[in-house]
Symmetry: C2
Subunit: 180 residues, 2 copies
């Protein structure tokens, strides 16, 4: 009988400024500097992320990403990073999503991979060069506003994870975290 | 009997790239350049707005604005502009909101004022120096992601409109435009 190689299941962590600090910033109102503007009709939660996109004649661009949902036991097979700029994602409905990240010095193994579940009203801003999985959204196709870098030179590195042991995120196991 | 001065009611216009072109850009997926990324799991609607914030050592910043709703017959009493940078607003729920704008060379009168109603999934990016009213949201307090300029020097001019004739937006009259 062939050996069975069990998958490595990444544990979910709540997304907080502290838990995510090695990878970038949580973009949210909670705990942020804010003040009232427009004759008292509007609260401004001010300057929530470090937009770091100027390398090699870079400029900030705003896009919308529309991502397909994942479900079941999802295999993390590829990670990416943007060596020339930060990348901010904010959902355009107050949904929860899954964030898989690894630090700048990650080299493609299982060590260093982390998995977070957001709360409604949270976005993330990956620091320049931080490894991350593409968007992992739940239940339905979801749109995000994205602030990242436009400019010359290649700005996306990809790394394939080993096929064994598989690294997975168990979406079915999220029930304890979902605020529905 | 005293003369009654009737208010000037701004007519609503649908928000399109064409109707809003004098003031900035409509930020939306529809009609935008897009392509598939992340192994076919995500559609990128690319570079939807001109982020023009570099004047006088400016930098892009991302904030969340949380705005109170307006209702009834709303008086437009003040307009503002940011002479040093563009300002982008995108709602964090797919709601509709009202946009009042006037061109760069507006001088505070009724001439030149325009009033738009957005569709769900639309945001706006005011061009640098374009006059606009603060956020006018409907029904409930609403959050927006805002991309504008941080940096030295004052970047907000305000103009009061005359008290008579009043300039108003008739929120009750929006029924024909609302997609609820």
């Amino acid at each position: 009988m062939a050996d069975i190689v069990l998958p490595i299941v990444l544990p979910f962590e709540p997304l907080t400024g502290e838990s995510f600090g090695a990878f970038g910033e949580v973009v949210e109102k909670r705990g942020s500097q804010h003040y009232t503007i427009n004759n008292g009709t509007c609260e401004r939660y001010h300057d929530l992320a470090t937009i770091d996109v100027a390398d090699v004649e870079g400029k900030p661009i705003v896009s919308i990403f529309s991502a397909d949902p994942v479900s079941g036991v999802f295999q993390v097979s590829e990670m990416e990073r943007h060596p020339l700029g930060s990348q901010l994602f904010f959902p355009l409905e107050p949904c929860q999503f899954v964030v898989v990240a690894a630090p700048e010095d990650w080299r493609g193994g299982v060590e260093g991979l982390r998995c977070f579940i957001t709360e409604p009203g949270q976005g993330v801003n990956y620091r320049k060069g931080v490894w991350h999985h593409p968007l992992l959204v739940l239940e339905q196709r979801s749109d995000f506003l994205v602030v990242d870098r436009g400019g010359p030179e290649s700005n996306c590195d990809l790394v394939q994870l080993p096929s064994e042991p598989r690294v997975v995120v168990d979406i079915e196991d999220l029930a304890d975290f979902l605020q529905t």
